[in-house]
Symmetry: C2
Subunit: 186 residues, 2 copies
Amino acid sequence: MSVGPEKSTLSLAILGLVALEPRSGYDLRKLFTTTPMGHFSSSPGAVYPALDRLEKAGLISGSTQKKNTLRPRRVYSITKRGRVTLNEIVTGPITRDDVIWRMDEIMLRFALMDDNTPGETLAGFLEGVIEQTEIHVKSLRDDYARLKEGMPITSKYAMEHGIAQYRSTLAWAKRVLKEVRKKVNS
Amino acid sequence: MSVGPEKSTLSLAILGLVALEPRSGYDLRKLFTTTPMGHFSSSPGAVYPALDRLEKAGLISGSTQKKNTLRPRRVYSITKRGRVTLNEIVTGPITRDDVIWRMDEIMLRFALMDDNTPGETLAGFLEGVIEQTEIHVKSLRDDYARLKEGMPITSKYAMEHGIAQYRSTLAWAKRVLKEVRKKVNS
DNA sequence: CGATACATGTAACCGGTTACATGATTTT
DNA sequence: AAAATCATGTAACCGGTTACATGTATCG
């Protein structure tokens, strides 16, 4: 999944947050340091350049307030193209690589769906997560069975942790899917 | 935690794997692509420079085989200093930041403890994980309680996933701790 | 008037990704 | 002899970290 020419979760998070309401770089940084959204960087050296890139890509646009001072405040809002792109990224298919390498991004995408995202879309997303995660857990279990002899115990335990994490994700996705379906049928 | 002047988990993984037995860059890359250790990069542009840096830091040393050809094979083994450093990193204290930002590294450190690591060390490590994780889960739950009103449902669900992940880690650590203690008392 | 919160940015550095380049050895 | 596998490396690029630089507004 890539935001314009980019691929970082930070850009996606920024795009999604600016879509909810116009925000400045400072607003975003504050959000990243004071909420559990804070899995993202918040350092000015990451946030401001990311805003620049998103603007250059035409996905957000900043309007400068207090134009005449040396220290203007720039508030960014999402553009039409930005909204289209965001929607494509958020609702795009779940790949196995997403599950293996980018679980954070999966959860971010889910979190960025707003309350008027159709229940079918939510369900499809969760089904994708479940499908790909089940495949992956199966292959992890195979690896485990194949490798466990001759592996230090602590490595075995560490692998069990990895598998347990995915099983927890699976349980979560199944539970949420059930709740989403219940809401669709009402 | 930093490996010499570095901080990447890739360097730590390489140091730990080279500690088990001497390996070449190619060996490491193969390991990273064919085993679930593959959460690490495996790209030549990451592995070979990392080996260079570890060697420059005096933590590993490479011996060139087939010296007279243009395409020599370099096999690296860990140095005395490397083994000391590795042990310090692996058995060092668990911080809250480790739990929040570097769970992968925590599991890597645990996996790299070998079978003659004293049971007390393993237990101490796991106790640290449990302690810090419990603190973090508590604060996540507070955030959740504080923020859940006015949050899109999908964001709420995403947060629940995060909390569930940590609870899964907690369950794992408690189980493994029990097993480790059982082994110590026998 | 000093501290603090608001607010934006840049530059050096670091390490991973991608893509490319090259050569050696083994298998078919 | 071609193909596959073994094997090492480099260069351009990208984006995050750290640290620094700077200025504004508000409050006591």
